[in-house]
Symmetry: C2
C-alpha cells in the first residue's frame, strides 16, 4: 500500500530535497552495502585491472607513451562496462622528461667518494652538461637560508634535510609538514645564489630509494632556475654525517631533465545516467598519470581501479542510480593538475551540478574511513552513515580535504570527500621505483573499492543537503 501511494505524489514534489529528507532505510542500506563488499571481495575486478595498468602499461607520466596507453586502456575498459556514456576530455598537459639516469656522489677530503641515489624532481631543469660539483650548505628550513645568508650560500648546493616528523600519526600530515622543501626549495635557494638543490626524500623509512615529486620555480626568472633532485634517506643521512666530519665535503650531481612544452592528453570519463535526478552529478575518481619511476601502483593505480570498480559493482548488481554517477580518470595530477582543472572548467561552462565528489588518491591500503570537505549539517548526515561502515572497520569519518583532482569542483553547497586508507606504509614507496603491483594487497584494494561504492550509494540514495 505504501509503495502504491507514492505514485500519488505530484511529480513536481519529487525533487532532490524531498529525497534528501526521506527516511533512510538502515536495514536495506546495510544489506546493499554488505553485498557491495561481498561482490568486491569475491568477484571484484579492481585487482586484475591494477595488474594490467601496472604490469602491462607501467608508469605513465603526463605526455608519455605510458600515459597515452593508459588513456586508451581506460576508455576501452569503461566501454566494456556498457555504461551509458564513455568519452575522452581533451586536456593540455606539461611534458617533463627525466632524460638519462642521474648520477650523484659525495666527495670528502681527497679520497672518500660515495655514490648516492638521486632522482631529478619533476619540473626541474638539468645541471650543466658535465654536472654540478660544489660545497654543500645543509639546512632544515627556509628560515635557515635567511639566517645563513647569501654570502655563505652563493655558489653552493643547498641540501634540505628536514625529515618528515615521525611523531605525527597520520603520515599525510607529516608529509605536508616537510614537502615545502621539495616544492619550493629550489626557488627559495636560488634567491640566495645557490647553484642547485638536493632534498631529503619524503619518507620515514631509511633506505636507498629516492622519492621524486613535483617542484615549482614560481615567479623566479627563467635564467635563475637551478636544478633540484631528491636524495634517498640513507643518502641524506650519509651526506649530513660527512658534512659534520668535513664541512668542505662536496656534492656532485648530473641530470639531463627538461621541460618540453605542452602536449594533448585526456581525462577519461564514464557515466551512468541518473534515473530520477540525472542533472545531479556524483563524481568518483583518481588520477591516471603517475611518476616516471615504479609503476604507480598505489599512486594512483589503486584509486583508478577502485573508482572504476564502483560503477562496475553497480552495473553487476543491477543497481540503477537515481543520480548520475560519473567516474573520472584524471590526467596530470602529479605535475600540473590540468585534468582536474579542465574537468571543473568544462563542468562550469556546461552549468553542470556536481553535488558530490569522491577521490581515492591516498594508496590502496586497508580503508579506515573517509574525510569530508563539508559543512556541519552535511557532516552530521555523513556521521549518521558511519554505522553502515562499522562492520568493515571503515568508520573513521573526519572533516578534511577530498582530493586534489576534485578540489576545483568544490563550491559552497557541494561536498568533496576522500577515501582514507591506513597511511603507515604509503610514504615508504610514494613516488619511487618501489611503488609496484606487488606492494598492493588484493583484499585491501577491494575493501577500499567496496567502501567507496557504499558511500556513493548512500549519496545517490539520499542526496546532499546544502
Amino acid at each position: 500500500m505504501k509503495t502504491k501511494s507514492l505514485f500519488l505524489i505530484p511529480l513536481f514534489l519529487l525533487s532532490a530535497d524531498v529525497v534528501s529528507a526521506q527516511t533512510p532505510n538502515h536495514t536495506s542500506d546495510s544489506l546493499f552495502i554488505k553485498k557491495l563488499f561481498s561482490t568486491s571481495l569475491t568477484a571484484g575486478k579492481s585487482y586484475d585491472w591494477l595488474s594490467h595498468l601496472t604490469l602491462k602499461i607501467g608508469h605513465r607520466i603526463s605526455g608519455s607513451y605510458g600515459a597515452a596507453k593508459a588513456v586508451e586502456w581506460g576508455e576501452a575498459t569503461l566501454k566494456n562496462l556498457t555504461l551509458d556514456r564513455v568519452w575522452l576530455q581533451d586536456v593540455m598537459v606539461p611534458k617533463w622528461i627525466r632524460g638519462t639516469p642521474e648520477i650523484a656522489y659525495i666527495s670528502s677530503g681527497d679520497s672518500q667518494t660515495n655514490s648516492v641515489p638521486i632522482l631529478a624532481l619533476g619540473g626541474s631543469v638539468a645541471t650543466p652538461p658535465n654536472g654540478l660539483k660544489s660545497r654543500v650548505v645543509e639546512v632544515k628550513s627556509f628560515d635557515d637560508l635567511a639566517k645563513i645568508g647569501k654570502d655563505s650560500i652563493q655558489g653552493k648546493i643547498v641540501f634540505y634535510n628536514r625529515p618528515m616528523d615521525p611523531n605525527v600519526i597520520e603520515t599525510f600530515k607529516a608529509y605536508g609538514g616537510a614537502v615545502d622543501q621539495r616544492v619550493q626549495g629550489a626557488a627559495e635557494a636560488a634567491k640566495y645564489g645557490a647553484l642547485g638543490v638536493i632534498v631529503r626524500s619524503m619518507s620515514h623509512k631509511l633506505d636507498d630509494y629516492p622519492h621524486t615529486g613535483t617542484m615549482r620555480y614560481g615567479d623566479l626568472p627563467r635564467n635563475q632556475w637551478i636544478p633540484a633532485a631528491a636524495i634517498s634517506t640513507n643518502g641524506a643521512e650519509m651526506l649530513s654525517a660527512m658534512l659534520k666530519l668535513d664541512p668542505k665535503t662536496t656534492f656532485f650531481f648530473k641530470q639531463t631533465s627538461r621541460n618540453d612544452g605542452e602536449v594533448l592528453s585526456h581525462n577519461v570519463i564514464g557515466e551512468i545516467k541518473g534515473s530520477q535526478f540525472p542533472d545531479e552529478i556524483i563524481v568518483v575518481g583518481g588520477h591516471l598519470d603517475s611518476w616516471d619511476v615504479g609503476d604507480g601502483a598505489h599512486d594512483d593505480g589503486a584509486g583508478i581501479v577502485q573508482s572504476m570498480e564502483v560503477l562496475r559493482l553497480f552495473k553487476t548488481m543491477g543497481y540503477r542510480p537515481k543520480r548520475t554517477i560519473r567516474v573520472v580518470l584524471f590526467m596530470n595530477e602529479e605535475n600540473g593538475l590540468r585534468g582536474g582543472n579542465k574537468y571543473a572548467e568544462v563542468a562550469k561552462q556546461k552549468g553542470e551540478k556536481h553535488i558530490f565528489g569522491l577521490e581515492s588518491d591516498a594508496g590502496g591500503f586497508t580503508p579506515r574511513g573517509f574525510s569530508f570537505d563539508a559543512n556541519d549539517a552535511q557532516m552530521q548526515t555523513f556521521l549518521s552513515w558511519r554505522v553502515h561502515f562499522e562492520p568493515y572497520l571503515t568508520n573513521h569519518f573526519t572533516k578534511g580535504g577530498g582530493g586534489a583532482d576534485i578540489g576545483p569542483l568544490k563550491n559552497a553547497e557541494n561536498v568533496m570527500a576522500g577515501l582514507r586508507p591506513d597511511s603507515q606504509r604509503y610514504f615508504d614507496i610514494h613516488h619511487t621505483a618501489a611503488d609496484v603491483f606487488s606492494a598492493v594487497n588484493k583484499r585491501e584494494l577491494e575493501l577500499g573499492a567496496a567502501a567507496m561504492a557504499g558511500l556513493i550509494y548512500l549519496v545517490d540514495q539520499y542526496g546532499v543537503e546544502k
Copy 2:
C-alpha cells in the same frame, strides 16, 4: 595538601579496590600515552630487536637450535634493560622435525605431471620411505567424508579444499572457519581408511607458498596415524581442476617428518616489581617459538619485541609501576602451548595473583585496537579508555579472546586482552617462508608496541575491577 593527606589513610585501606575507584586523570594519562607513542616512534628498540631475532637467529621451532638461541637472546636482552628480575622457566616441549624437503606432484592421465609445493603439517608423521601415491578424494568438510563413505575413501588421499571465506572481514574469523581441516583433517580422514591428507593452505591469497601449522591425531591409535601436508593455494586450485578433468588423477607426496619426544626449553620472564601493589601481576607477552619456515617475523617475532618494548619504554621514561609488570616470552605456542600452560601452572602453585594479561600474536601490522576477555563492568571501564587511543586510530575495543599463551591464566576475576592489528595481510604470509623481516613495517610495529604500553599503563594506574 591533598598529596600529604594521603598518608593519613590507614594502610589497610590502600588496597587495589581503592585504587580502582580513583578518579582517572584523563589529561595526565593522555600526555603519558602520547609520550609512549613518541618514544616508541622516535627512539624505539622493537624494530632493531626484530631484525636480530629474524635475520640473525631466524626460525625457531620448539626444541630447535634457533629456539635455544632465541631463549639466550631473550634473556640477555631483558637483562640489559636492568629490570628487577629476569629468569628462565623450565618447560618440556615436543620436538617435531620436518626432515628432508618434501616432494609432491600431481599425475593425470599418462603424461601430465605437475610438481606442487607442499609442507608437512607440524606433528605429522612421515609418508612411507618411498612416498605415497594414490587417487584423491576432494572434500570441503568432515560431513563430506561421511557422505562419500568409507568404501570410496579407503586407500586414497583425502584432499581438503574448503577456502577461507573471503566475505569475512576480520581474517582471523575466516581462519577459524577453515582451520579444522588442517588440525583434525588427518584424524578424521584416517577413520575412513584414507592413506594420507593434503590440506589447502590457510590463506586468501593465490600463490605458491604452502602454509604449515599444527595438526593433531587426537585419540587415534598410533598405528592409524597418516601423513598430512599443506599444499599451496595455487597447487590446490590445480589439483581441484585436474580432478575435474580426470577423476583418476593421482597425487604423490613424500615427507620424512617425525615426532622426536620431548626436550627441555624455557619461557623467558622479566619483571618490574610494583611499588604499591607488588602482588598484583600484569603480564604482557608473545611467543618466542615460530614455525620452521621463514623467520617468524610477524608470527610472533613482532609480539615478542613489542612486549619487551613495553617494559623498556617504562624504564626509559622513568615510569615506576604501581603493580608488578611482567614480560613473558612464551615457548611452544605453535605446537603444544606448553609454555603458556607451564606459566599458569607455576603461577597457581605459587598463589600469584594475575590481574591482567595482554598478548600480541596477531601480526605486527597497524594496530586497530584490543579485544578483551572481560565481564561487562570491566568492559565498560576499558571502553572509557578508548579516548586515549583515538589519536592513534587504535580505538577499536571489542569483547573477544586475549591470546593462546595467556589463556590458561584466565579466571573469573581477571582480564585477558589481545592486541588487534589490521588483519588483511596476515594470512598471506602466516606459517610460510614469506614471514620474514621485510614484511614488517617499522612504524606499524612501533605503533603496536606503544598502544600495548598505553593499555598496560592504564591497567597499572587503575587496576582491574572484579
